[in-house]
């Protein structure tokens, strides 16, 4: 019996892939396959179930090249999207969205709630219908980086696996800092940083740490982390 809510194949080296799609057959998640709930409910349930899962370091939320992010009914959108957005924003793990092709306008808040959005640079002509309004990615500011469609998947997983090699606590605290610091006043910013640093140091103490290895390697002149990969 599989105790995890996702298929084992969906989790590779700390990177969990969740397929965002209207069609259940394209979603390999055990949870989504096993229920009749809406894609929104399935997504939220899956997110809740992996929130405290330390084996999940990074989440990739993706669609397939042949699919558009669509299939959302207006009533469901109005009711469910804010809840999905809330779930996504409360996830401690970084979420990387991978988007091929075009995106239904109603799905954009969901993508905005992801930390990083990588999208294909090829934009096919929008085909607006009465029910589905599609927008061009080229005019959007919710995309972090664009890649040619042929490279998108490789680039997304390269980034996701790179993130998964970071110190897990530092990764989660960095996400928290980026999310919260805008709401912290300049007068309170020092206290915010001090308490963050104290908390992370106490949590990192006594356990194998990428931080300790990185510092050791830097001090020995073996690596220059600022130079990037």
């Amino acid at each position: 019996m599989n105790a995890q809510p996702y298929a084992p194949a969906d989790l590779v080296d700390g990177v969990l892939t969740i397929y965002w799609a209207s069609s259940k057959k394209t979603n390999p998640s055990e949870l989504i396959r096993s229920t009749n709930a809406s894609p929104f409910e399935n997504l939220m349930r899956l997110l809740s179930s992996v929130q405290a899962d330390e084996t999940v370091q990074v989440i990739v939320l993706r669609n397939d090249a042949a699919q558009r992010v669509e299939g959302l009914e207006a009533n469901a959108v109005e009711k469910m999207v804010p809840q999905v957005v809330l779930h996504l924003s409360q996830m401690p793990q970084p979420i990387v969205a991978m988007v091929f092709g075009q995106v239904q306008e109603e799905a954009i808040p969901i993508l905005q709630a992801c930390d990083i959005v990588l999208a294909s640079s090829e934009v096919s002509p929008a085909k607006d219908t009465q029910d589905v309004k599609l927008i061009s990615q080229a005019s959007s500011d919710w995309v972090t980086l664009y890649f040619p469609a042929t490279e998108l998947e490789a680039q997304t997983y390269k980034l996701a696996h790179e993130l998964a090699t970071k110190d897990p606590l530092a990764l989660r605290f960095t996400k928290k800092t980026v999310q919260q610091v805008g709401a912290v006043s300049w007068d309170a910013i020092l206290n915010f940083t001090t308490s963050q640093q104290a908390e992370i140091k106490s949590l990192q103490a006594g356990r194998p740490s990428a931080r300790a290895l990185a510092i050791e390697s830097f001090l020995a002149g073996k690596s220059k982390p600022g130079a990037g990969a």
Binding site: I116, V117, V181, Q196, S209, R211, A214, P225, G226
Partner: protein, 198 residues
């Protein structure tokens, strides 16, 4: 640690001058930065400040060898340096009456970014590399740095830079709002021209 040059038309050029360390901000440099900003803010002859780096790099961030837990610098000096850093980073850069301009080439990382973020205009050489590498050390970027950068940089770019620790180039920095103008060479001359025109 700093090379200060005043032009006849009231522009103070502040050069980060520690080229062997890619102008990483260590104890002495952070104290010097506090001092020059304090002096400059009450100097009516200075109309604008232009920050730049000597030796091909703007700034490699804070000198971690000085500020790591394993630092061998005297505790009292370290405490003074930390206080000075917060002073110029949180207060002086943001409150100084003169406009600030930055000329960026080479690396511009971590602790060097608040200077860039406080600038009215930033001119960067095309091959400059900017970034928030703290995560690569298992560190969390300071809230002060994230806040300063977040005030001018697109949230998408900020999250990518902070989480990945990857450097990004001048064009990308311009798309994300951190850089005003990308040039092929001599960003200092371009920054000076902008400062004079303002």
């Amino acid at each position: 640690m700093l090379k200060i040059e005043d032009t006849v038309d009231g522009i103070r050029c502040v050069g980060l001058n520690r080229p062997d360390k890619r102008n990483a901000i260590g104890v002495e440099m952070t104290l010097a930065l506090e001092e020059i900003l304090l002096k400059t803010q009450s100097d009516p002859a200075v109309k604008a400040i232009v920050f730049h780096g000597l030796g091909g790099h703007f700034c490699a961030g804070m000198d971690m060898k000085d500020f790591f837990d394993s630092s061998t610098r005297p505790a009292e000096l370290l405490q003074r340096a930390r206080k000075a850093t917060e002073h110029w980073r949180i207060e002086l850069l943001r409150q100084i009456p003169q406009k600030i301009f930055s000329a960026v080439e080479g690396y511009c990382l971590g602790g060097g970014l608040p200077i860039v973020a406080a600038s009215t205009a930033v001119v960067a050489q095309r091959d400059a590399k900017l970034g928030l590498p703290e995560i690569n050390f298992g560190f969390v970027p300071g809230g002060q740095i994230i806040k300063a950068v977040g005030e001018v940089m697109a949230p998408r770019g900020l999250a990518y830079a902070a989480l990945s620790g990857r450097p990004f180039n001048a064009e990308q920095a311009q798309r994300w709002g951190l850089v005003t103008k990308v040039v092929e060479s001599d960003p200092l001359q371009h920054a000076l021209a902008l400062a004079r025109a303002t």
